[in-house]
């Protein structure tokens, strides 16, 4: 079984977001770039599956759409344990464009399971995984919180509103994974970091595809009014404020 893990390159989640001039993009000065947290968990789970020889996972490839600037993040994925990587050399302009590029990679290389994190921590869209599957006309399962391989067949748990379902889907399919898929992200070992230096990153040219959306301007969230403190000895005052000032209980 061949598995493709799609990764996105995002600012470290503790980054204080500042905007570049024109407020269309963020100011990238001093930003630490990381693998999108959900993609990191998805890569971790995929590698756990490969570690189990009975699971039949033969190879784990990571794919990314981005410019050469994102190679350190791809190397990190290789250091964590992916076998090889594909980078589509293009600016990731919108989800539709990115999904079109990744779908083309999958068309060429044929994978059994395509793993995507449920969203990226930058644009929070939850779009690329579903779009890839539709471009390819293959099934997809969203909100996957567990993936196991039992007797050669992938078995997943998906979260639904107020519950969960155990689901099987014939390969090839796209698994869109969320919290629970792996406990802690796997950390690269020193050996992994050394080995990653010689692992191949294949660079593909982008195919012609449109972007259907465009960010016109970014703005800061509205600032909240300062916190009103209530005496710890008198929480009844809090109830009064919630009832009569905020009017929410």
């Amino acid at each position: 079984m061949k598995i493709l893990v799609c990764i996105s390159n995002v600012p470290d989640t503790t980054t204080k977001i500042r905007f570049a001039e024109g407020n269309k993009t963020i100011d990238t000065t001093g930003i630490q770039w990381v693998i999108n947290p959900w993609d990191e968990l998805s890569l971790t789970r995929t590698l756990e599956l490969k570690d189990d020889p009975s699971g039949g996972v033969k190879s784990v490839t990571v794919a990314h759409v981005g410019t050469a600037d994102s190679e350190p993040t791809i190397r990190k994925a290789l250091a964590i344990g992916a076998d090889d990587a594909v980078r589509v050399n293009a600016d990731s302009s919108d989800a539709f464009f990115v999904a079109a590029q990744l779908a083309e990679v999958i068309r060429k290389e044929q994978y059994d399971i395509i793993m995507c994190g449920i969203e990226s921590s930058d644009f929070n869209g939850s779009l690329v995984g579903g779009m890839i599957s539709e471009f390819l006309g293959i099934p997809s399962l969203s909100a996957v919180s567990a993936l196991n391989i039992e007797n050669g067949q992938p078995v997943m748990v998906r979260e639904i509103d107020g519950g969960k379902e155990v689901v099987t889907i014939p390969v090839p399919f796209v698994a869109i994974v969320q919290k629970g898929i792996a406990k802690e992200p796997r950390i690269a070992s020193m050996r992994g970091i050394m080995m990653a230096r010689t692992k191949p990153i294949r660079v593909f040219d982008p195919v012609a595809a449109e972007s259907l959306t465009e960010i016109k301007i970014l703005e800061k969230p509205a600032t909240r009014a300062a916190c009103k403190f209530v005496d710890a000895e008198n929480p009844a005052q809090l109830i009064d404020l919630l009832q009569n000032e905020a009017k929410i209980i």
Partner: protein, 322 residues
């Protein structure tokens, strides 16, 4: 030209988020000077369908087939795209919940429709069609222009209040025949959470963090939640330690929620936690550390020991309710 809103049901019933969607769709339709068609998929009785009319749906299309009990993203995409084409819909509105996330991106490719995902306000302008959405996990908001002819909006839960706007809705029933062999999603087992408030639906959430010190100390959190009709939640370390179920983890990588009231007890308020709760209308923080970042996000705060504050707070709620 019309606005199409997909109104999901849960065992044949709609819930608040459905009415938020219909109200939102109705407001968008008003901006576009057109009407709202609501699409319901699966078995919902006429009385329940009619409730959509209370929020401004002028036409209700009810598509049924036994096989639609299975949420298969491809099948649902087929149904919704067919109806969107038949009604000539230019704007399609879906929830940004798990179902929406499963279906909307497929629909986007099928209809070549740009998508504004997790939108929290009415469109900022119609020409160019511009929506407002959260980015960088709540640390920024973006004005996003959708350039395609057909536009999809997935609406963030609890970001638009339902508005009653009675319309005399007509219902069109469409019985389709879905070939079971084409459904690739095989459901082996379903586990439904019973008797408890679903976290993402809750108006009030009481959440505990590491400051609660041990899983054995959750009694007061649960009691307060019970009294307020609230759901319970927790911070990431608490879920990772196994003190509470993973499904309760609220934060960037856990559940993103936007209740009317979020009460954070013993949660310091790391940026990743705030990313999951910043959409809450009112935030209350109880923490021993007056410098904890949670107080910067909070509207009301109590600096104090949760184990001393909670019993008093519970008493105060009991007094309020009596």
């Amino acid at each position: 030209m019309s606005v199409l809103v997909y109104t999901e049901n849960w065992d044949g019933k709609f819930k608040k988020l459905t009415f938020e969607l219909v109200s939102y769709a109705s407001a968008v339709a008003e901006m576009l000077n057109t009407e709202v068609t609501a699409l319901s998929i699966g078995n919902v009785d006429e009385k329940e369908l009619k409730t959509l009319g209370q929020y401004g749906a002028e036409k209700i299309i009810n598509v049924t087939d036994e096989n639609l009990k299975i949420l298969d993203s491809q099948t649902y995409t087929n149904v919704i795209s067919d109806i969107a084409s038949n009604t000539g819909s230019e704007v399609i509105i879906i929830s940004n919940n798990n179902t929406g996330k499963a279906v909307a991106p497929r629909l986007s490719v099928r209809l070549k429709a740009g998508i504004g995902a997790g939108v929290t306000r009415l469109p900022l302008s119609l020409n160019p069609f511009t929506v407002y959405k959260k980015t960088y996990s709540g640390n920024a908001f973006a004005h996003v222009v959708i350039k395609s002819d057909i536009k999809i909006i997935t609406l963030a839960q609890n970001s638009f209040d339902p508005v009653e706007k009675p319309a005399s809705a007509t219902i069109e029933n469409i019985q389709v025949n879905i070939d079971r062999s084409l459904i690739k999603t095989n459901i082996k087992d379903t586990q439904k959470q019973t008797g408890r408030i679903v976290l993402t639906d809750a108006d009030i959430v009481v959440s505990g963090g590491r400051g609660m010190k041990s899983p054995d100390n959750w009694g007061p959190i649960e009691e307060l939640a019970e009294l307020l009709g609230a759901a319970t939640a927790c911070s990431r370390p608490v879920a990772d330690e196994g003190w509470r179920p993973i499904g309760e983890h609220t934060g960037q990588t856990g559940k993103i929620i936007a209740p009317n009231l979020y009460i954070a007890v013993g949660i310091s308020g790391a940026i990743q936690h705030l990313a999951g709760i910043s959409g809450s209308k009112c935030i209350v923080a109880i923490n021993t550390d007056k410098d904890a970042p949670i107080f910067e996000a909070a509207d009301f705060g109590i600096v104090g020991d949760a184990f001393k504050v909670l019993p008093k707070l519970i008493e105060a709620v009991k007094v309020m309710k009596s």
